[in-house]
């Protein structure tokens, strides 16, 4: 029955009881933690409104802010690079890594350490670097586990949420210790010791950016494990990779956004580490990288930006609350989506950022319950944007098959759409019936009259439910003579 890659993967997760259980427990935990943080509705609404207007204003001023950011960063001694596509970013990063290592032949081959960055997942950096013979080590505990397992993150904040203790213990036995043991504290210590060594030897550190302040040229990075600080201070070169939508105007914009981010994401009032990076090591300073590079990546973002309503998507601060609260995500897990960003936000980012065929299916894989929109700290109207992408999907079909004109270029058409002529016809007929009240009356009358003849099996519906049984007469009929 499942037809798309999404449905097939979702189906296997739904049948995995253990996975169902761990996702449900993890999401319930995160939901509860967030609720405790925002137990004052007024404070939540005020803060959310503030965060929303900060991000909205920053996006409206995006071209100017990016130029200001570039100038300030350069002023601070940070080198700025622009990348339009994942390929451009990957080539750039490879060149920067090679430049660092060639200036220090003793250090070759260069071990590269990476702090958690979803943008690097977006451009498939690890795979690209591996093809160039450059090993790149994930240093965030979750990402580290995912890398050992040769998988991709299943959640943007908790990348290894799909892994249980036994699976992690097995991975650590195979790759680190050689001995199986599943005490969580010991496992963490083992990883820490292993990573510590790698930090010391690394010549290049790669990180993401949570917020980039245009006014001061500051890169802000939040984390809980200290690996972000290690990755950005110990190696000789730090490469920060960021999407262009991360820029904000001023330092005063930062506190409300940080508060919204950490409270929404993990239910923490503040993360253990907040790194504010304002340049390479200066004269007399004892630590810090010698060179800092920033790569500003577009990868479809400017296309979203050009569309007045899709632009709202770019407010996202990547907290993951929408996936934690999503009844679909909490059942099918992050990998089913087949996209870098899973869950509700992934569904509205994927058609623009991804090339996979299954992205077309995703906007439809929602009951539109609105839980995502309700918890979004920057008020992204996710359900409304899902509807928009559904319209884009069917309109693309209609444009291709009905008018024989070219595909609209704005926004980027969704690929791999399987919506057929049949479906189009169904909705035309449906509309026609509902536009003719007498016809509607007659059709519903027939359904009630012949209800005994209705099929007992209705595809997937009756796998989980008895068939819907029409009443003996409609409300219209009952009220006709009143």
């Amino acid at each position: 029955m499942p037809s798309s890659p999404f449905e097939m993967k979702a189906s296997s997760v739904l049948q995995n009881e253990e996975l169902q259980h761990s996702y449900r427990n993890a999401m319930d935990y995160l939901i509860k933690r967030r609720q405790q943080q925002f137990n004052d509705p007024l404070e939540w609404q005020t803060l959310r409104q503030k965060g929303t207007s900060i991000k909205t204003a920053a996006l409206n001023d995006l071209p100017q802010l990016l130029l200001q950011l570039e100038a300030k960063l350069i002023n601070n001694g940070i080198q700025v690079h622009w990348a339009e596509t994942p390929d451009e970013a990957n080539i750039l990063i490879t060149r920067l890594i090679k430049e660092t290592t060639s200036s220090n032949p003793d250090l070759s081959p260069a071990p590269v350490v990476k702090g958690k960055t979803m943008v690097s997942e977006e451009i498939h950096l690890n795979q690209y670097l591996a093809q160039q013979g450059i090993p790149c080590l994930e240093t965030d505990m979750g990402e580290f586990i995912v890398q050992l397992a040769k998988e991709t993150p299943s959640h943007i904040i908790m990348p290894a949420i799909h892994k249980n203790k036994a699976e992690i213990a097995q991975l650590f036995k195979e790759h680190i210790s050689g001995i199986y043991q599943d005490d969580v504290d010991i496992l963490i210590q083992q990883a820490r010791q292993y990573l510590r060594q790698c930090f010391e030897n690394a010549t290049v550190g790669i990180s993401g950016v949570n917020f980039a302040v245009a006014e001061t040229g500051t890169l802000v990075l939040v984390e809980n494990e200290g690996n972000g600080r290690m990755s950005t201070t110990l190696p000789q070169t730090h490469i920060a990779l960021m999407g262009i939508e991360k820029v904000i105007a001023s330092l005063t914009d930062l506190p409300p956004l940080l508060s919204l981010l950490t409270r929404s994401a993990t239910g923490q009032s503040i993360t253990t580490y907040i790194n504010m990076i304002s340049g390479p090591r200066r004269k007399g300073e004892k630590d810090g990288p010698e060179k800092v590079h920033v790569i500003l990546l577009d990868n479809g973002r400017s296309k979203l930006w050009q569309d007045a309503s899709l632009r709202d998507t770019l407010r996202c601060i990547r907290c993951g609350a929408c996936m934690n609260h999503c009844p679909v995500y909490s059942r099918v897990g992050g990998h089913s989506y087949g996209t870098t960003y899973p869950g509700p936000i992934g569904k509205i980012l994927a058609p623009q950022l991804e090339t996979q065929d299954n992205a077309a299916d995703l906007p439809f894989a929602s009951s539109l319950c609105g839980a995502c929109g309700e918890v979004c700290p920057v008020n992204i109207p996710i359900p409304q944007l899902l509807l928009r992408w559904r319209q884009e999907a069917t309109q693309q079909y209609q444009t291709n098959h009905c008018n024989h004109t070219t595909i609209p270029q704005q926004p980027t058409p969704i690929t791999g759409l399987k919506y057929s002529r049949g479906q189009h016809l169904i909705w035309k007929t449906w509309s026609w019936i509902n536009c003719h009240p007498k016809l509607y009356y007659f059709m519903t009358y027939l359904v009630t009259k012949w209800r005994i003849l209705l099929p007992r099996q209705l595809g997937g519906w009756t796998l989980y439910r008895t068939p819907p049984r029409p009443a003996s007469s409609t409300l219209h009929q009952r009220l006709k003579n009143k």
């Binding site: 029955m1 009844p327 894989a365 509309s431 536009c435 009630t448 519906w461 819907p468």
Partner: protein, 250 residues
Amino acid sequence: MTTTEHVYLYGTCTIDLFFPEAGIDAITLLEQYNIKAHFPPEQTCCGQPAYTSGYPQQAQQVALTQIAAFPENWPIVVLSGSCAGMMKHHYTHLFPDNHPQSIQAHRFSQRIVEFSEFLYHHLKITLTDYGQPVHAALHTACSARREMDTLQCSQQLLSQLHNVSVVSPAHEEECCGFGGTFSVKFTEISGAMVNDKCKALEATNIQHLISTDCACLLNINGCLAKRQKTPLQGEHLASFLRQRCQPRKP
């Protein structure tokens, strides 16, 4: 002396076909409070199925049929949070400012009132409970909870019934998995959601499941019946209130 107030009743196509008694109950209940509910026979579907499936033009045609069906300037009481949400909040998306019918659609949207909202906010109803002590759960459809923000109205109404103990099943704020065509397109995911919803209901001691949305009930009732763990079947708030608030004849 109170004068009779006139309102329209929008029955919804789900109630029309599957829960017509909820429509009758709503009209009867309103009559008790001197409200004359008119049911224009020209009403059909609100257009939501086409709209959420990505066919706004088809939805727009159907929306125009509804707008024409309710000519008087009376409030339109809708027996579903989801259809009310469509007509109140999404008709404005269907008819943007530059559309010739945009003003008409906007005025129509402003007249939309969800049933529990009408009873609680507009009518400021005081209910008298004539029923036996029971336990009940309120399934608030996502549209009522998040789009129409009428959750409190139905909660408040139920709290007026002194013999009804309202129980909160686990994950009560979570969607039942209906979502219109979602339940047909993504049957396994929707099935898992409604199964969880039913498990949570079965774990309670309720005798009544009440909702302001019959589309959710179509989904939940079907699953409850398939699972056969309980004879429980959900009913519309209008039906429940009518049963409870009708004085027993001596």
